[in-house]
Structure formats: structure tokens, C-alpha cells
């Protein structure tokens, strides 16, 4: 099987180890991953801030870079939701581009979704270690409808004790530009999230969106808490 890997701008710039973990996972499951070198960002920062024109420029680039019929797999529920739901809307006035966006909507997958629904990785006997809790990020859960997949993966891992997080699907306060525009609220929400994480007693917190995890990591660091913050790709790849 062949896929195209969309790393996302956050993973590309800040967390290359997440991309590397994905490559490791793909190798393990016999998937040939192509990395279109011209990829940049899905355009969500502009779109969410109300700059549809600038977002359209980014989206058009994305559509041309990820050409073909292969599934596109990305380590972000938020970016997957952007491509799946908002690209068709961005090109509502342009039938040709809209058709392209609509066809792409059918082949973009968030990583855990692809691992569970397409590769059935949950039955492959993956292993890990320690006590892990999971933050359910907003766009992954509510826009993309991916609720169970990450849990299925984590609970299938041998030697891993999974502890559910209280209010796991409450926003961590990242919100993209929100963290910059309303930092006081953003930090207050991150602190609440950190409380929930500490309450689980887990040694690792994971999730499917680097943005949220970055925000959570900062809140944990501020309180000097040793809980590890890792993307689900890392958690899964470490046990291979």
C-alpha cells in the first residue's frame, strides 16, 4: 500500500521526531510512504482568523502538491479536518477546484484513524510501557469524528496501562491563534488540563495534535511536572 505523508507545519518545524515515528510505523505495516517535498501548511491559521483569500492560496498549493489517488495521512486531527471540511467550502465559487477538494476530502486521514480503520494496527500486537493517559483534541473529535480510534490503539498495546483523563475532550486552550490573542484564557485552560492530567497519575500524556500537545507541555513544564508529553505516533513507534 502507498500513502502520501503530510507532516503539517508544526511537526515539520518543531517536532520532526513525530514525522520520523510515522515513517517507522509505516515501515512496520508495510506501507510505502511518499513525502511530497513541496508541502508546507494546510492554511488553517489564515482560515481560522478570517483570511479566506490567504487560506485559499495555501489550499490551492496543497491540492496541487498532494495530487493523485493515494491516501494522505497526517499526524493532526485539526489539519485533516481543515482539508476534509473547509477546503470544499473555500472553493465554493470555483467548480473545478471544488471538485478537486471534494475528491481529496475522501482520501485524507488522521494517523490514528488510518492505523485503525485501514491498517487494523490494533490487532498487530504492538507493545509499549508505563501508564498513559490521552487528551482528546477538539477538531479530531468533533470535526473529524475520531473518538475511539486513539483509545483502541492505546488499549491494544501490551504492557501499557491506560488511564482515562477526566474531561478528556475539554479544550486545552491552544486554539491556534487563540493562544496568542487571548493568552490569559489560554493559559487558564491549559492549567485546568494539566490538573486533569496530574489527577490520572499517568507518566505519559498523549494525543493526536501537536498544537495541543505543545500547549500542554508548556503547562506541565511551568509546574515542574515530570509527566512526558508525546504524540501518539511516538508512543506507538517506541514500542516497535
Amino acid at each position: 500500500m502507498r500513502v502520501q505523508l503530510f507532516a503539517t507545519c508544526l511537526v515539520d518545524s518543531f517536532f520532526p521526531e513525530v514525522g520520523e515515528s510515522m515513517l517507522k510505523l509505516f515501515r512496520r505495516f508495510g506501507v510505502t510512504a511518499a513525502f511530497p517535498k513541496k508541502q508546507t501548511c494546510c492554511g488553517q491559521p489564515a482560515f481560522n482568523a478570517g483570511y479566506a483569500d490567504d487560506a485559499r492560496v495555501a489550499a490551492a498549493h496543497f491540492l496541487s502538491v498532494f495530487d493523485g489517488d493515494d491516501p494522505i495521512v497526517t499526524p493532526s486531527g485539526s489539519c485533516a479536518a481543515m482539508v476534509k471540511h473547509h477546503y470544499p467550502d473555500l472553493f465554493r465559487g470555483d467548480p473545478k477546484m471544488r471538485a478537486k477538494a471534494e475528491s481529496m476530502a475522501g482520501r485524507i486521514f488522521e494517523l490514528s484513524q488510518f492505523l485503525v480503520r485501514v491498517l487494523h494496527a490494533q490487532g498487530s500486537g504492538m507493545a509499549g510501557k508505563g501508564t498513559i493517559t490521552y487528551h482528546s483534541s477538539c477538531h479530531l473529535t468533533r470535526d473529524l469524528g475520531v473518538r475511539d480510534e486513539p483509545l483502541i490503539l492505546l488499549q491494544s498495546m501490551k504492557e501499557v496501562r491506560f488511564v482515562p483523563m477526566p474531561d478528556a475532550s475539554r479544550c486545552c486552550g491552544f486554539g491556534g491563534m487563540f493562544m496568542a490573542k487571548l493568552p490569559e484564557i489560554s493559559c487558564a485552560l491549559a492549567e485546568e488540563k494539566a490538573d486533569s492530567i496530574v489527577a490520572t497519575g499517568a507518566d505519559t500524556v498523549t494525543g493526536c495534535d501537536a498544537g495541543c500537545l505543545m500547549n500542554i507541555a508548556d503547562a506541565m513544564k511551568k509546574r515542574g511536572n515530570p509527566v512526558q508529553v508525546k504524540h501518539i505516533a511516538q508512543v506507538l513507534a517506541e514500542g516497535l
Binding site: 515539520d12 513525530v18 508541502q39 492554511g43 490567504d54 490551492a60 490569559e184 505543545m214
Partner: protein
């Protein structure tokens, strides 16, 4: 409150609320309680999703032919003995109500809960004319005593704890301090009882207006709504145009949805249907009923891209689950309606110039969309309003430039790569420039980005 909180100062309002420990804990506790109660109340409702579809469809049907429903309602209500007034804006609504009262020498008005009366600042206007407007909903009564406005559309005093209420009653009503909720309720009940009996007029809002019969529908819990609308000889009801439902046959759908969404009750203690005035042989009911139908910007919203906000039935569920609202409370939003529905309604009703910072008051998490009983696509509306802010020129010039550069870089891999290199190289500068609140919370970009590590 000493400082004026407006929607324009949202960030400062919120920052102040975040430091207010009693407010934070009261908000958290109340929002959690209502969230849990709502979930429990809907658990046995097997057809919830179909019910939401149906409610949404009814509300859309009303919006599609709103003028027609309003006209039918006015005709039928008049036939049933009411006098119907149309108010284009807040000012004319205030004038209409003040004149009705003045013409009848009415000086004391007991009020049931009405957010529309808050929207038009009715109390202050009546007081200026030398009349007394007394809130009789317990929560409204509390905040009227403090001199505040509601911070939740269903639970006006959500931000107060019982110790604060106990001290307030002791100070303002001269009673002995108690923080026992039952004792406090009794104190308020005693103080209000005489007022009900002596009032010249009762003023209420309405949750719905059934067009086919000209009926007003009120969902209440404390009994004050019923007293206000039946004891005084004169009843004035004020409601905004979009409260229409086609007929009472549509009411069961909303009886199932509204109380569960709002307070987690399967039904409120009272559901009152008022059709016209007291008829011969009837023991209760106002002898005279005036209904004020307020537009105040609704017609304009109706013709725009955000019209679905007019489906709102004011249950407050979106607030209870909103991470931002539960952290900063209702006053931070600076106007009558807070939380997710409030962001949209405030921006549309007061105009972008008065409220543009509010459209940032959401992480776009979508928790509100998940609970809205009439399926208002709130996140889509936030995004539309953000686009409108850019179109109308209320976004910061630097942000606008930045986004243009972002768009260009996103379409040019080499430019994008250069940007990454520059931000890593000048990271200390970025941090200094971006401040500890923003860049200080990000890790330093990787030395070698992923795209240069891929074989």
C-alpha cells in the same frame, strides 16, 4: 461595578475575571453541574438526534416566513384580547412600555425574567421615569440588589456563591446572615410576596409565541412568572420577533428539548400558555395584556449569512460547555448575551465596531455545536464573523500583512523553508518580540526540520 466592561475590552475583562477566585470556582461548579444534569436528562431520550433535527427544522421554517408568522401572531393575539405593539428598536420599545404604564398611572412593576428587557435596558429607563421595576426571579433579584447585569441567560447570578448572597441579603434587606440556600430563598420570597400583591403591572418575556393561536408560552420554575402575568391587572410582555413557533402543536418538541438543555429538568415546574386577556368567568389572568414585539436588528440578521443564530431558543447549554465562558463568566462579554450564542448575537446586534474582539473569544472547540438543541452551526458562524471582521477592516493591519506573507509562504516551499530557518536562527529575538505569553510558550524550532530529514 466601577469599571465599564464593554465587548471591546474583552481581553482585559477576561483577564480580570480569571483572577477572581470566587467567580472562577462558582462558574466552574455551576457549569459542571448544569453540564452533567443536561447529559443525565437526555440519557433516556432515545430519539434525541431526531428531536434536534425536528426542532431545527421548525425554527428554520419560522425564519423562512418570519414576517408571515409575526403577522398571524399579532392578528390572533389581538383577536384574543391583547394589544400588540411593534418596536423597531430598543428606544421605541422603551417608549412604548413607559407610555402604557404612564397612561394608566402605574408606578410599580413586578418583572419576570426577560433577557429582551435586559437588551433594551428597560429597568433603568423606567426608574428614570420615577417607576419601580422589581425583578422577581431569584437570580435576577440578587443581581438587581447588587446592581449588576445577568452573567448567564438562564442563571443570572451564576457567578455568585451562597456566602456572597448571604452577605448581600444581610446588608440590603437587614436580615440576619445565613448561607443556607433554603433560608435565603425564603427571605427573598417574603420580601417579594407583598410586591406581587401591590404591583400595578407585571412585565414578562416569553420563551415562545405560537402564531396560529396568538399564545405566549413561558417556561418557569419559581412561580414568579405566573404571579407576574396573572396577579396585576396589567400584563406587558416583551419578546423579540424570532420567538415565534408556528402553533402550539409544535410546543411538545420544545418542551422536551428546552428544560433538558437548560437546567437538566425533564420539564420546568411551570409551563404557562397565555392566550389573550382574562375571559368572563375566569378567575385569573390580566385584565389588560400588551405584547411588544421587538425587532432591534433581527430583520437585518435574517437577511444575512448568520441568520441561523435566530434559531436560538435561549437554553444556555452552549455556555455551560464553553471552556472560555466557564473560565471568564458572562460579564466579560460586555453586553446582554454571553457565551457562544452571545458572541454571535452581540456582534450582529451591536455591530462589528462595538464588538470585534468578541469574535476571538472562542477556541473553535465546537463543544457548543455538540449540545445546541436546534443545531445552530456556531463554529461556522464564528468563522463567518471573523471573515466579516477582516472585510469590514477591523482586523489589525499587522495581522493582515502577516497573513498575506503567510499565504505567499505557504504556496512557496522555498520561502516557507526560509521562514523556518529564520525563526530558528532568530528564536531569541522572536521570543523577545512575541513575549513570554506567546512565543515563550513554544519550543524552539528544530535545527533540522522534518522535510530535510526525509530520505
Amino acid at each position: 461595578m466601577s469599571d465599564v466592561q464593554t465587548s471591546l475590552t474583552f481581553r482585559a475583562n477576561a483577564a480580570r475575571a480569571i483572577k477572581d477566585a470566587p467567580l472562577r470556582s462558582a462558574m466552574r461548579q455551576a457549569a459542571d453541574t448544569f453540564g452533567t444534569k443536561r447529559a443525565d436528562a437526555f440519557a433516556p431520550v432515545a430519539d434525541l438526534e431526531a428531536l434536534r433535527d425536528k426542532a431545527s427544522a421548525i425554527r428554520l421554517q419560522v425564519l423562512d416566513r418570519l414576517q408571515e408568522y409575526v403577522d398571524t401572531f399579532a392578528f390572533q393575539a389581538t383577536k384574543a384580547g391583547a394589544t400588540v405593539h411593534r418596536a423597531r428598536d430598543a428606544g421605541s420599545a422603551r417608549e412604548i412600555i413607559a407610555k402604557i404604564l404612564k397612561d394608566r398611572n402605574a408606578r410599580t412593576v413586578v418583572k419576570g425574567k426577560s433577557m429582551v428587557s435586559e437588551e433594551i435596558h428597560l429597568n433603568a429607563h423606567l426608574e428614570k421615569q420615577g417607576m419601580e421595576a422589581l425583578e422577581t426571579d431569584l437570580g435576577e433579584y440578587i443581581i438587581q440588589l447588587v446592581g449588576e447585569t445577568p452573567s448567564h441567560i438562564i442563571v443570572p447570578a451564576i457567578h455568585k456563591n451562597r456566602q456572597q448572597v448571604g452577605r448581600l441579603f444581610a446588608e440590603k434587606l437587614g436580615v440576619e446572615y445565613t448561607e443556607d440556600p433554603q433560608a435565603l430563598t425564603k427571605i427573598a420570597r417574603k420580601a417579594l410576596r407583598e410586591k406581587f400583591l401591590a404591583a400595578d403591572a407585571g412585565l414578562s418575556g416569553a420563551n415562545f409565541a405560537a402564531a396560529a393561536s396568538g399564545s405566549l408560552v413561558l417556561f418557569t420554575n419559581e412561580g414568579n412568572g405566573r404571579m407576574v402575568t396573572t396577579i396585576p391587572p396589567l400584563h406587558i410582555a416583551i419578546l423579540s420577533l424570532e420567538k415565534m413557533i408556528p402553533s402550539l402543536a409544535d410546543l411538545p418538541t420544545f418542551i422536551r428539548l428546552l428544560p433538558r438543555s437548560a437546567t437538566g429538568q425533564s420539564i420546568t415546574s411551570y409551563v404557562s400558555v397565555i392566550t389573550g386577556t382574562r375571559k368572563p368567568g375566569e378567575a385569573t389572568g390580566a385584565k389588560e395584556l400588551h405584547i411588544v414585539l421587538l425587532d432591534n436588528g433581527r430583520s437585518e440578521i435574517l437577511s444575512g449569512e448568520c441568520r441561523e443564530i435566530l434559531k436560538c431558543i435561549r437554553c444556555g447549554a452552549c455556555m455551560n460547555v464553553c471552556p472560555v465562558y466557564r473560565t471568564v463568566g458572562g460579564h466579560s462579554y460586555g453586553w446582554t448575551y454571553p457565551g457562544p450564542m452571545g458572541i454571535v448575537l452581540t456582534t450582529l446586534l451591536t455591530g462589528m465596531a462595538q464588538s470585534h474582539p468578541l469574535v476571538d473569544a472562542t477556541t473553535l472547540c465546537g463543544a457548543c455545536v455538540e449540545v445546541c438543541p436546534v443545531r445552530i452551526p456556531l463554529v461556522d458562524l464564528f468563522l463567518k464573523l471573523r471573515e466579516r471582521r477582516v472585510r469590514e477592516g477591523f482586523s489589525k493591519p499587522m495581522e493582515k500583512q502577516g497573513m498575506r506573507v503567510f499565504g505567499k509562504a505557504a504556496a512557496s516551499p522555498s520561502l516557507f523553508s526560509a521562514g523556518q530557518f529564520l525563526s530558528r536562527t532568530f528564536w531569541p529575538l522572536v521570543r523577545a518580540f512575541g513575549g513570554k505569553d506567546v512565543a515563550g510558550r513554544l519550543p524552539r524550532p528544530a535545527k533540522v526540520p522534518f522535510h530535510r530529514r526525509v530520505p
